[in-house]
């Protein structure tokens, strides 16, 4: 009945194996890889065997009163689409990890967390009720916290992990509130029931909360700053996190609930925040020097563009970019990982040396960069041109911004590519040796991804794979693709002129104010620092009050004591005082009687 859940099972088993055999690193890593392949096989089998697309299955988890809490899964096209993407990426990431994590300790912990992470994303892909979705959503958050902070003995990873989990926690609470508003209003958590439900103000509020939660997960303004910091995790984690899991969850959730957002009229909100995030992503990527953080800001841009597409009402455009971004971003991260490994884990692109001599590493990176910039016929162009095409038809302002962003993203990705190349290689024999000793599994994973980047357009032409229940699924015009490609090539030319020919230092130093305007993540981080300070000041105030309250109870008790000692003075054993008191008492009593 719940056949799709079986696809997740191998990964869960792998996770438990990692727990059991935690001292046997090599067993654990091959078991995890085998499990990921097994689940890919199961997913492919599912694909081929499912005839009724939008079948919905579920069982009751528990119920109380009128509300039933179900674990429901759906195998609608959009669900299977993400399930397949995660299914394809998981073995590749695990393959890459076999090489990458080879010299690192604590393999068992790594594969345990990664398996749960992948399983959570698969569950998220096929969840059909808010409760099921929320379970997967939180599991993603927790495991990403553990993975980002994987190297907890280093200085930066714990801080990065905390930043991530705190942002995600904000989203979780907003999401929980949104889900429960819906549950209370409609008495159900099923997506299918929500689509046919009558809209209410509670639903609108809940949708807004869920949208904000999606922004935290997908690293959109104003919650985007955790993502660049999350680069402190191991590179396979970054590659996984940015390509198919975690950050895609937010976009995907909005895509699944898209009809509700259309009818609630929240599309302009999505559009505006998507545009802001994309602009911030591009500008920071242009100014950043950290090899992985540039890619992180680029992910913010990509996700922003997906939200822009959703905001413009084009589910197909968003999902196309979603699809192609998976491969090129995974590929670029794998390349960055190889580059850092050869350069003794140096992270600054200005001090790194490129892999140009090692063609097996270099060519996949170039393919990834070209695809990202949007050069025809690599897959990236399909996503970008679909979005640009929709914008051109509906919103000219958004279209202009998107064109500029396209140019910017082409410049920063070639800057990323060219700066390590622009240094003479002569005195760095060690780096060259390092490049030669990069594990084959790392290279193999990148090559497979490069092939997928080239081959992805084939998938796009199969409507059965991407039938997103859309009537507006018209083919992308060639002119649009040409336009995107030309912009990308212009960007390439500029980047070549500026960075490949060694002018990069002038650019950075000559335009100091411009640099700060671009590198605005400092401002965003500063804002959060002040927010934390404000909370701390409030906490200090209330903490002081709490102490004073405690003191107050003590002074109440000492007041009691002083009353006691005052009274004690009367009871002093002097007979004349007692007699006097006795007489007064008798007189008063008599007076009372006579009255």
């Amino acid at each position: 009945m719940m056949f799709a859940l079986i696809a997740i099972l191998p990964l869960i088993i792998a996770a438990f194996l990692a727990l059991l055999f935690r001292n046997n690193g090599s067993l654990v890593k091959y078991a995890a890889f085998a499990a990921s392949v097994a689940s890919l096989m199961l997913i492919i089998y599912l694909y081929l065997s499912i005839s009724g697309w939008s079948s919905l299955q579920g069982f009751q988890w528990f119920s109380l009163g009128s509300i039933s809490f179900n674990i429901s899964i759906a195998t609608a096209p959009i669900n299977m689409f993400l399930l397949l993407l995660v299914g394809i990426m998981t073995p590749l990431i695990f393959l890459y990890s076999i090489g990458f994590m080879d010299t690192q300790s604590q393999q068992a912990r790594f594969y345990f967390e990664m398996s749960i992470f992948a399983a959570a994303m698969m569950l998220f892909a096929i969840s059909a009720s808010l409760i099921t979705m929320f379970i997967a959503w939180e599991m993603l958050g927790i495991t990403s916290y553990l993975l980002i902070g994987f190297w907890y003995w280093k200085e930066k990873p714990p801080a990065a992990a905390r930043k991530a989990i705190t942002t995600i926690l904000i989203g979780d609470m907003l999401m929980l509130a949104g889900i429960l508003f819906i549950g209370v209003t409609y008495g159900t958590f099923e997506f299918s029931a929500l689509f046919s439900a009558a809209p209410t103000p509670a639903l609108d509020a809940a949708l807004l909360l869920i949208l904000l939660a999606a922004f935290t997960k997908s690293a959109q303004f104003p919650f985007h700053e955790w993502l660049p910091d999350a680069m402190e995790g191991p590179t396979p984690v970054s590659a996984f996190l940015h390509s198919s899991t975690m950050v895609k969850a937010g976009v995907f959730l909005i895509a699944v609930l898209f009809p509700l957002y259309v009818s609630a009229g929240l599309l302009p909100v999505i559009l505006i925040f998507g545009l802001i995030s994309a602009i911030l992503g591009v500008s920071n990527a242009l100014a950043e020097r950290h090899i992985k953080k540039i890619l992180a800001y680029s992910t913010i841009e990509d996700l922003g563009l997906m939200f822009v597409a959703l905001g413009l009402g084009s589910l197909l455009g968003a999902m196309l970019l979603f699809f192609v971004q998976t491969f090129y971003k995974g590929l670029l991260f794998m390349g960055a990982g190889s580059l850092m490994r050869a350069n003794d884990e140096r992270e600054d692109i200005f001090t790194n040396y490129s892999s140009a001599t090692n063609k097996l590493i270099f060519i996949p990176i170039v393919i990834g960069a070209l695809s990202m910039a949007g050069v025809f016929p690599l897959s990236g162009v399909f996503g970008k041109s679909a979005i640009a095409g929709v914008a051109e038809d509906t919103n000219v302002l958004a279209y202009a911004v998107i064109v500029l962003l396209g140019l910017g993203s082409s410049i920063y990705i070639f800057r990323w590519l060219f700066i390590p190349m622009s240094k003479p290689f002569k005195n760095e024999k060690q780096v060259e040796v390092n490049y030669r000793t990069i594990p084959k599994t790392m290279i193999a994973a990148a090559i497979i991804l490069a092939i997928l980047v080239i081959a992805a357009p084939i998938f796009n032409t199969y409507p059965s794979l991407l039938t997103l229940e859309l009537s507006s699924g018209s083919p992308i015009p060639i002119s649009e693709m040409a336009e995107v490609s030309v912009i990308a090539l212009v960007g390439l030319a500029i980047a070549y002129r500026v960075y490949r020919q060694g002018h990069q230092l002038h650019v950075a130093s000559a335009n100091r104010p411009l640099y700060i305007a671009f590198y605005n993540s400092i401002i965003v981080n500063g804002f959060y620092m002040y927010l934390t300070k404000a909370v701390a000041i409030a906490a200090d105030g209330l903490g002081y009050f709490d102490l004073k309250l405690d003191k107050l109870t003590y002074s109440a008790s000492s007041a009691m004591l002083s009353v006691g000692s005052a009274l004690r003075k009367i009871v002093n054993g002097q007979t004349n005082v007692y007699v006097a008191a006795f007489v007064i008492g008798i007189v008063l009593l008599l007076a009372l009687f006579i009255w």
Partner: protein, 472 residues
């Protein structure tokens, strides 16, 4: 019909006496065995009731006092059973592994068994007279627990605790007396009061209600009468803290639920009580942020959680009450685990200040993981019991207070954010780290395992207990 409650109470009473006559060496084992037997009886009772399909079940023994007629009546309701289950698990773990410091085993074992007896008696008592007796037995045994076994400042904290709790007892006694005199048949019986308290005139009801309310408010505790809790927890031994937060605060929660059932007038005060409780939760989380002692931080988190539970009780619908009961189950288990971990950290590193603790994970792996799991469980991550509780609590709150019911989530958010900060600051490390002079034994790890697996069992299989909540 098996008299489960009678067996439980007899077993524990016998256990207390037997432990008294045992030697210092064997006392801990003996007490643990009795506590384990009690847990087995509770589980057996669960399976029995699962077969009959109902958790409403009473046991009546001979009259305790003929005039006024007070019977030895006991009852299980779904709410009380959940709390009995929690109390027996937490007490067993406290006995088994709470004595991290490994001192005064005999006296602590006796007191813990006595407290378990009191807790189970209180949650199952069928009339207010017995409830009051068990209440005071529980308070007194914990008073000695703090007074004898705590850290250097313990005496002051113990007396403070006793004064607050005695004040609560006084209010409770006053309320019980008023109930007795104003119900038509002059009865202490809880079921009878629930059925007939509507006949009491409104001003008297208001008086009774506020008296009950103050008593349970102090015990839960909620702002502004929470001040005994941080001191008592900080100064108590690990075992004392586990019992205080895990079980004693639930006396108040259980009593508050009973009060809402007994006094129809409570419906008038739902909104102000919820505002007070929500404020208390948010207030406590801000105060928590200024604390440095890891045990004090966890102690304040109890105030946060109990505030949220009071919001649920105040919403007084099926979801709110079930959520409050389930929340007390989840919180009892989680907080006991956190205190056990914090106590172990304090014992191992001879340091509980988060500013001085560094890189605990290097030398105390299982304790660190347990602490982290406790943080997850506190923030209500799915598959832990707290998630089920939070879902039910906030459904209840939103049903009664509309969207304002979701506001206490902000307290949970801040609590989680700060706990992650604590994890970063003390558990994970930069290059420097605290060295540990001492190690913890196997029994502590067993305690972590029992509590952690209970948290997951009730988080993954909530229907085991929630099926019985369908008709409250």
């Amino acid at each position: 019909m098996v008299p489960f409650i009678g067996i439980l109470l007899a077993l524990l009473s016998f256990g207390v006496v037997a432990t008294m006559f045992s030697s210092e060496k064997t006392s801990k084992t003996l007490a643990s065995v009795f506590s384990l037997l009690a847990l087995v009886v509770v589980v057996a009772a669960f399976f029995y009731m699962a077969q009959t399909g109902s958790m409403n079940y009473t046991e009546n023994y001979s009259y305790y006092i003929m005039q006024p007629s007070i019977s030895l009546g006991f009852q299980f309701s779904p709410i009380s059973f959940v709390l009995v289950l929690m109390a027996s698990i937490v007490s067993f773990v406290t006995l088994l592994s709470g004595n991290v410091e490994n001192e005064s085993r005999k006296i602590s074992s006796i007191l813990i068994l006595l407290f378990e007896l009191a807790a189970i008696g209180l949650f199952t008592s069928g009339n207010l007279f017995l409830l009051f007796i068990f209440w005071d037995v529980g308070v007194i045994s914990l008073f000695f627990m703090i007074y004898i076994l705590g850290s250097s400042n313990r005496r002051r904290a113990a007396v403070k605790f006793l004064i607050y709790e005695l004040f609560a007892s006084l209010a409770l006694l006053f309320a019980i007396m008023l109930v007795y005199f104003y119900t038509p048949l002059h009865s202490f019986d809880i079921q009878y009061i629930i059925a007939n308290a509507g006949l009491i005139s409104l001003p008297v009801q208001a008086l009774i209600f506020s008296s009950f309310f103050i008593a349970f408010l102090i015990n839960m505790p909620v702002f502004p009468v929470h001040l005994w809790l941080p001191d008592a927890h900080t100064e108590a031994s690990t075992q004392g803290s586990m019992l205080l937060s895990g079980i004693l605060t639930k006396f108040g929660g259980y009593g508050m639920i009973l009060t809402f059932f007994m006094m129809p007038i409570a419906a008038h005060f739902e909104v102000p009580i919820a505002i007070l409780a929500g404020f208390s939760a948010i207030y406590a989380v801000f105060v928590l942020m200024t604390q440095h002692d890891i045990k004090r931080i966890i102690a304040y988190s109890t105030i946060v959680e109990m505030g949220i539970i009071l919001v649920a009780i105040a919403s007084f619908n099926q979801f709110g009450i079930s959520g409050a009961a389930y929340g007390m189950l989840a919180h009892g288990l989680t907080i006991a685990m956190l205190f056990l971990a914090a106590g172990s950290i304090g014992h191992m590193f001879a340091e509980r200040d988060i500013r001085n603790l560094r890189g605990v994970v290097r030398n105390a792996l299982s304790t660190s993981y347990t602490f982290l799991a406790g943080v997850f469980a506190t923030t209500g991550v799915p598959l832990t019991a707290a998630f089920i509780a939070d879902v039910l609590i906030f459904i209840g709150a939103i049903k009664t207070f509309s969207i304002y019911g979701a506001i206490p989530l902000a307290a949970l958010l801040l609590l989680g954010a700060f706990l992650y900060y604590v994890v970063n600051k003390s558990i994970l490390s930069t290059s420097e780290y605290s060295s540990n002079p001492r190690f913890i034994g196997r029994s502590q790890k067993a305690g972590y395992a029992i509590l952690l697996s209970s948290i997951f069992i009730f988080g993954v299989l909530p229907f085991l207990l929630l099926n019985f909540f369908s008709n409250i």
